[in-house]
């Protein structure tokens, strides 16, 4: 099986799944008795005529399959519709409000800042830590690292988030305990970030404010993955260090640290990379916890507020988030598959899988 064929097959399967996911979300929400017309008119007082007009403006008066088809067609053109929350009728029977696509992209930037920064932190610490633990298996250092990482795995990310927020954040005032500041823009202009006023309008912007508001979220996010990946890197390193080419390098008189850096680490990394790809879903789940506790207006919090509206569920918003997350996961996995196939053709064929332990998020 060629790498390209492999990638194409995965892409095809992923697109089918993406369609299934949107279809599922779509039908589920339409199956709920609540009428989305309630977003535009007061259902208790409105006349049937007004309700019909509202339904027409929302586009929910047609059969389900037609709505779904129209949605897909517009989505293909980059238009994800207008959110239900905070929408209003125009005199000519149309509907104005917050456009979903830019809102979801903005939320994705927040989640992206959190996940990428946290993942970077986790990998930067876990790879050396795992390598150190693996260099002397069963030594005191190794056991200590293993024990600490076990504690990390067994600690709920919410617990870490809450404790960090309460003590260094609130009680000791070491870092901002909630809210988000956008990277771009200047500090003077208050950045309008909130969706349903979930995050306060902090009126801050710029790289320093951005980073300082993300310090605690990054640490929270990283701790969980730090624990998992330290163990993973350690196991892989122990396996790799048993390989004949390591013995050859040692026989040539290469120093131990050089062997680890040049031969062992590189070979240990490719399956770890595959798992990074597979863990994006898990990462977004953890991000949901982190975003809720620290009130970062990311994808997770956007979904939660779209689900928790007074009138009903904000379907366009939820569909938008599901679509964007699906696309990100598919693209990231494809890229990682290709990188791994390029780095280590054997890994692509064997298709390494995470052990069958469940996930916390």
């Amino acid at each position: 099986m060629t790498t390209l064929g492999y990638a194409l097959r995965r892409l095809g399967a992923s697109i089918v799944l993406l369609l299934l996911l949107t279809l599922l979300t779509f039908t589920l929400y339409r199956a709920i008795p609540a009428d989305p017309a309630g977003f535009l008119v007061d259902m208790q007082k409105a006349s049937p005529d007004q309700i019909a007009k509202a339904e027409k403006a929302l586009g929910v008066h047609t059969p389900l399959y037609e709505q779904y088809g129209r949605y897909l067609w517009r989505a293909l053109h980059g238009d994800l519709g207008i959110a239900y929350q905070g929408t209003s009728l125009t005199p000519d029977g149309g509907r104005v409000g917050k456009a979903v696509a830019p809102a979801v992209v903005r939320a994705a930037m927040v989640t992206g800042s959190l996940v990428l920064g946290g993942a970077l932190l986790a990998l930067l610490i876990s790879i050396p830590l795992g390598a150190i633990a693996a260099s002397r298996p069963r030594s005191m250092t190794d056991r200590t690292i293993l024990a600490v990482s076990l504690i990390g795995i067994c600690t709920h990310p919410l617990v870490v988030a809450l404790l960090l927020q309460q003590f260094p954040g609130n009680q000791w005032g070491l870092a901002p305990a909630h809210g988000y500041c956008s990277f771009f823009g200047t500090a003077g202009a208050p950045a309008k970030l909130d969706y349903l006023a979930l995050s306060q309008d902090l009126g801050c912007a710029g790289p320093t404010a951005w980073a300082s508001h993300l310090v605690l979220p990054w640490i929270t996010f990283a701790l969980f993955f730090l624990a998992i990946y330290t163990r993973l890197v350690r196991v892989r390193m122990i396996e790799v260090m048993d390989e004949p080419y390591i013995r050859t390098a040692a026989a040539k008189g290469m120093s131990r640290s050089r062997i680890v850096r040049h031969h062992a680490l590189r070979n240990a990394m490719s399956p770890v990379l595959t798992l990074v790809g597979m863990d994006i879903g898990l990462a977004l789940g953890i991000a949901l916890y982190v975003e809720s506790v620290y009130r970062l207006p990311g994808l997770g919090l956007t979904t939660l507020s779209a689900l928790n509206g007074d009138v009903g569920f904000d379907l366009p918003m939820i569909l938008g988030v599901v679509l964007v997350i699906g696309i990100v996961i598919i693209v990231a996995n494809l890229v990682i598959d290709l990188v791994v196939a390029w780095m280590d053709p054997r890994a692509a064929e064997s298709g390494l899988r995470r052990s069958a332990v469940g996930r916390v998020a």
Binding site: A13, S14, L17, L21, T25, L28, A31, I32, L150, I151, I153, C154, T155, H156, P157, L158, V159, L162, L163, Q165, Q166, F167, N170, Q171, A177, H178, L196, L198, V235, M278, I280, G281, L282, L284, G285, L288, Y289, S292, V293, R295, G300, L301, T303, L304, S305, L307, N308, F313, I318, V322, I325, G326, I329, N333, A356, V357, G358, R359, V360, A361
Partner: protein
């Protein structure tokens, strides 16, 4: 030893009796101190949560949902661990001049709050922890059993019959595993569980428990399905299965008597670890406002006690800051998950001592 009982072992002391794999595993497990301590803790937890909660409630003289306005001070800060509180549901008057509570009526008995009060409502934290543990453990164990049931059935079918059943199950598993389970569970949970929340199976389950069990089970059955499928695929090629086929055993008999015993150890290990992750998942889903509904408590809702809800987070207030309300459920969840993990790892090593550490 009397001469009237001549046993082979007593005579030469050399004969080794054949030992079943489960007996061997038990022998190894007995020497694993971490696993034993964890197992002991889990038994203790079960005892504390099931018969212990109502017994303690009786001993203390109040229940988990009873309100004690006197367990909260003027600024609404709950009393700390190990405080005794006037046993009355009467709301104290507040003197606006001195800003103090009026004393309780004379002769009011006092009652002990071992872990303090749970927040502005002044309920007993320890009792809520125990009753919440009931809910959390029911959800975790129930979801694990459901996942085992679905996963084992589908995994066995996929492995035994191969073909399109196999490829559909495996493909589906692969793809869904890449998506954020938590997000899907919350999206699905907010919509579907509204109809299921009131199903309590004649009052044996609390509100919302069944929908959480279904939700978590629905998103975790892939794991046992995978384990069963790969194990059975490798077992099917073995001689004893061929032999059983040759003497005319039916498919279902082969599955039940020849394949299944080999699958049980792996499933036991998975289940232990799954209960641990399900406890975390329950806490997460409830924390985010989709799982167990108040006034029923669970460890997830206790975690959220000082934090509030997604839509209305509580503001930080230094005068009412009560860190133990976060620390107590945090520690409980941590210790339970740690014990389950260690016990699961112990089981894994007991069943397969040659496996990678």
């Amino acid at each position: 030893m009397s001469a009237a009982a001549p046993t082979a072992t007593a005579q030469d002391g050399l004969e080794t009796r054949a030992q079943s794999p489960s007996r061997l595993a038990w022998r190894r497990l007995r020497h694993d101190r971490a696993a034993l301590v964890s197992g002991g803790f889990l038994v203790f937890l079960l005892l504390a949560v099931l018969p212990g909660a109502p017994l303690l409630g009786k001993a203390l003289g109040h229940g988990p949902n009873d309100l004690f306005p006197y367990a909260v001070d003027v600024s609404l800060k709950p009393v700390g661990p190990w405080s005794s509180v006037p046993n009355t549901s009467q709301v104290p008057d507040i003197d606006p001049n001195t800003y103090t509570q009026s004393p309780p009526p004379a002769g009011t008995p006092r009652t002990l709050f071992v872990l303090g009060a749970d927040g502005t409502l002044g309920r007993d934290e320890l009792l809520r922890l125990l009753y919440g543990g009931r809910v959390s453990l029911t959800v975790a164990v129930g979801a694990t059993l459901l996942a085992l049931l679905i996963g084992t059935t589908l995994g066995t079918l996929a492995a035994f019959f191969g073909g399109w059943v196999d490829s559909v199950v495996s493909r589906f598993t692969d793809l869904v595993m890449a998506f954020p389970v938590l997000l899907l569970a919350i999206v699905l949970g907010s919509t579907v569980s509204k109809n299921l929340d009131d199903v309590t199976v004649g009052g044996t389950l609390n509100r919302g428990v069944l929908s959480l069990i279904l939700l978590i089970g629905l998103f975790t059955w892939f794991y046992p399905a995978r384990i069963v499928r790969s194990l059975i695929l490798s077992l099917r090629a073995r001689e004893f299965v061929e032999a059983a086929e040759m003497i005319g055993s039916s498919d279902s008999k082969i599955m039940r008597t020849h394949l299944f015993p080999h699958v049980i150890p792996a499933l036991a290990v998975w289940s232990t670890l799954a209960v641990a992750t399900n406890i975390m998942l329950e806490a997460g889903i409830t924390f985010l406002g989709v799982g167990i509904k108040l006034p029923t408590t669970s460890w997830g809702s206790m975690l959220a006690a000082t934090w509030g809800t997604v839509l209305s987070p509580l503001p930080y207030n230094p005068t009412t800051f009560s860190p133990w309300l976060t620390i107590i459920p945090s520690l409980t969840i941590f210790v339970t998950v740690l014990a389950l993990t260690l016990f699961g790892e112990g089981l894994r090593e007991a069943f397969d001592p040659r496996g990678v550490r």
